[in-house]
């Protein structure tokens, strides 16, 4: 499972934390920032600006944490890459925002596309106004953190 990283490794927590479980990515990013990590990784609490991961230097691996409707029960954790799935309703032209999926497409044009992108998705229970996660999701935060750490911990050799 361990990889070797030469370029930057980024964890991107996205979602709106005013909408309960929609904010799971932000809660996980905050939890991760509290962990003392012995290797370099950029943890970005992107919130509602999911395109803010790009930088001048090349990105070796991008791990995105977000709520995902995947059809399983609330709290289910998924791991997939953007090539595994086709997204719907994520393209903009008129909104004020650039969605994550768009930012990935655009990064191909600007030459910033990460060498590897992994999405850690969590099935939400409740997307409604409120700042707390549902009990189902709160109890899964440590497992999501572990799933993310697995992706960004470099090979020890």
């Amino acid at each position: 499972m361990g990889e070797r990283f030469t370029d930057r490794v980024v964890v991107l927590g996205i979602g709106n934390e005013l909408l309960k479980d929609e904010g799971i990515g932000v809660h996980v990013a905050r939890e991760l920032s509290k962990r003392p990590l012995a290797f370099p990784v950029e943890i970005i609490e992107a919130g509602t600006v999911p395109d803010c991961w790009q930088a001048d230097e090349p990105t070796g691996k991008l791990v995105v944490v977000d709520a995902v409707y995947g059809g399983c029960e609330a709290g289910a954790i998924y791991k997939f890459s953007p090539e595994d799935v086709e997204f719907q309703n994520c393209l903009m032209t008129s909104t004020h925002q650039i969605s994550f999926v768009e930012s990935l497409l655009l990064s191909e044009i600007t030459g910033h596309k990460p060498a590897k992108t992994v999405i850690i998705g969590i099935e939400p229970k409740e997307v409604a106004w409120g700042m707390e996660l549902s009990e189902e999701l709160r109890s899964r935060v440590p497992d999501v953190v572990e799933a993310v750490l697995k992706e960004v911990t470099p090979d020890q050799e």
Binding site: G47, I77, T95, Q97, L105, L106, I109
Partner: protein, 519 residues
């Protein structure tokens, strides 16, 4: 009569839609519908007042900085310190907000609006060496238009070379947006959702290395505004000149102004600001803004009837999704009982009429270059030009603010939260007049109300059945091709609508990800 539905116009699932009812090719009626209830006011009740700065920023993904300024001005006023913010604090707030607006104006024009005019598919014929254009070409050759669809077909008017050049600028604009965000992070600690703009001032000090690093990026953006953005506006004007006559709107304009040049007056609307506050009527008469004349009406919105006609300082948010006449979650804010448009055009008009020299010079130059009268500014292209003028004035001014900073002097003043108080924070966000109102009891938030720019512009009919600004801009518009209603979408986007307040749960097609489960 046929109905053209643009839903969702923001391409985010179901937040905003426009229905236009067309007869003999002309829009007879239009309804603008916000399809999502915004529960932020209710969420704030009972909290520490200082939470308002952090929480209201998270309403949205692109206007967080404007909300942080409005919330902070609101708290400064409630805490009785609005006129006591140290100059360093005032200037740093201006710089952070300026960086946000530069980034936002560029994003709006290139990533959101330009694709209604630019035919991306022309890049298929590109034969040069630009790597960005070649990767766009590769998208097209793979049959994927990627971020450039869905779009309408037909009325694209540029020659191939111009289309290709503008797609190149679209790509450059992405880098400019990033520079703007970096500028914000330099003084605001982080971006998005800055922690640095707080009641009393800011939490960051103006170290010399930060000033230099901000200035370096500002110069790069200035170069882009002067040599790319402004010329591109004229290019659009050259080929789409009829859009100076399309989308006139309600004719009244309201600006709260922004960028305090002097912080000593506790009344924000009387402050000397870079862009001036003012209420402008269709005959181009300017009057001072009186916040007491603002009221929100809900006769056609899904709220309890008893909450209609209130000034936001006494405003209520009591949803009633069964209200039969309702067709929007957006309330209808009105000024002096009348319909007013907000946004860059209002800022520019109020500043122009009050004699702001930079704005005056730029507006006069623009009008003479395109051979138009000031009334032409009430239009789709007028709104785009006004936004570009705002960006240009900012880039001309911000470097001077950096020189006014005094490293080593205070950026913040301490304060106490009063047991009971009221406050009001009024400022133009990049999309226009933004107001926050607070009432504090027992050192907690008893009432909080936000009236955001798109609430003004996208509002539904009010209690007197007056259509909102966007609705008025659509009514009477001739639509050449009802299956490709370019006119309508160009009118809507020129207002830069921002009603989303962001839900973006990723939704893969097919919806079953069980084979990707890891926990």
């Amino acid at each position: 009569m046929s109905r053209i539905s643009l839903d969702p116009i923001t391409r985010i699932e179901g937040h905003f839609k426009v229905d236009a009812f067309v007869e003999n090719g002309v829009v007879k009626d239009a309804k603008s519908t916000g399809t999502m209830f915004r529960g932020i006011e209710i969420m704030l009740q009972g909290r520490d007042p200082r939470d308002a700065q952090q929480i209201t920023q998270r309403i949205c993904g692109v206007c967080p900085t404007s909300h942080s300024i409005a919330a902070t001005l609101n708290l400064d006023s409630a805490f009785g310190i609005a006129d006591k913010i140290p100059d360093n604090g005032r200037i740093l707030r201006n710089l952070i907000l300026g960086a946000a607006h530069l980034s936002d104006h560029v994003l709006h024009f290139y990533q959101l609006a330009a694709l209604d005019y630019v035919d991306v598919t022309k890049v298929a014929k590109y034969d040069g060496n630009d790597s960005a254009l070649n990767s766009v070409k590769a998208f097209i050759e793979r049959g994927e238009l990627g971020p450039f669809v869905p779009r309408f077909e037909g009325d694209y008017r540029f020659p191939d070379k111009v289309d290709q050049e503008l797609v190149g600028h679209y790509v450059q604009a992405l880098a400019i947006r990033r520079k703007g965000q970096e500028m914000m992070a330099i003084f605001a600690g982080k971006m998005p959702h800055n922690p640095a703009i707080v009641p009393g001032g800011v939490t960051e000090t103006p170290a010399v290395d930060k000033i230099a690093s901000f200035l370096w990026r500002l110069n790069e953006i200035k170069d882009f505004i002067d040599n790319v953005y402004i010329p591109d506006i004229f290019t659009v004007a050259k080929y789409y000149g009829d859009y100076f006559e399309i989308g006139r709107g309600c004719g009244n304009l309201l600006s709260f102004g922004n960028y305090d040049l002097d912080g000593t007056n506790p009344d924000y609307l009387k402050r000397n600001r870079l862009f001036q506050a003012g209420a402008v009527t269709a005959d181009l008469k300017l009057a001072p803004v009186d916040a007491a004349k603002i009221a929100e009406y809900v006769a056609n919105s899904w709220y309890e009837d008893g909450t209609s006609g209130l000034n936001p300082c006494a405003g209520k948010t009591v949803p009633d999704e069964n209200w039969a006449k309702g067709y929007s979650w957006v309330k209808a804010p009105r000024y002096d009982g009348k319909v007013y448009e907000v946004g860059p055009l209002a800022r520019v008009a109020a500043s122009y009429l009050s004699g702001q020299p930079q704005v005056k010079a730029l507006v006069d130059y623009t009008l003479s270059a395109v051979g138009a009268q000031p009334s032409a500014l009430f239009s789709v292209l007028g709104r785009h030009a006004a936004r570009a003028i705002c960006a240009k004035v900012l880039t001309e001014t911000m470097a001077g603010w950096l020189l006014e900073l005094k490293p080593g002097e205070p950026v913040y003043m301490p304060y106490e939260i009063p047991d009971e108080s009221q406050g009001m924070g009024l400022v133009d966000g990049s999309r226009g007049a933004l107001g926050h109102w607070i009432e504090i009891k027992d050192k907690r938030i008893a009432r909080y109300q936000c009236v955001v720019p798109s609430t003004w512009n996208m509002s539904p009919r009010d209690d007197k059945n007056q259509p909102g600004p966007l609705e008025q801009a659509l009514i009477g518009t001739r639509v050449k091709d009802e299956t490709n209603p370019f006119e309508l979408v160009r009118i809507v986007r020129a207002y830069d609508p921002c009603l989303a307040c962001a839900i973006h749960v990723m939704t893969p097609k097919g919806r079953t990800l069980s084979k990707f489960r890891v926990g």
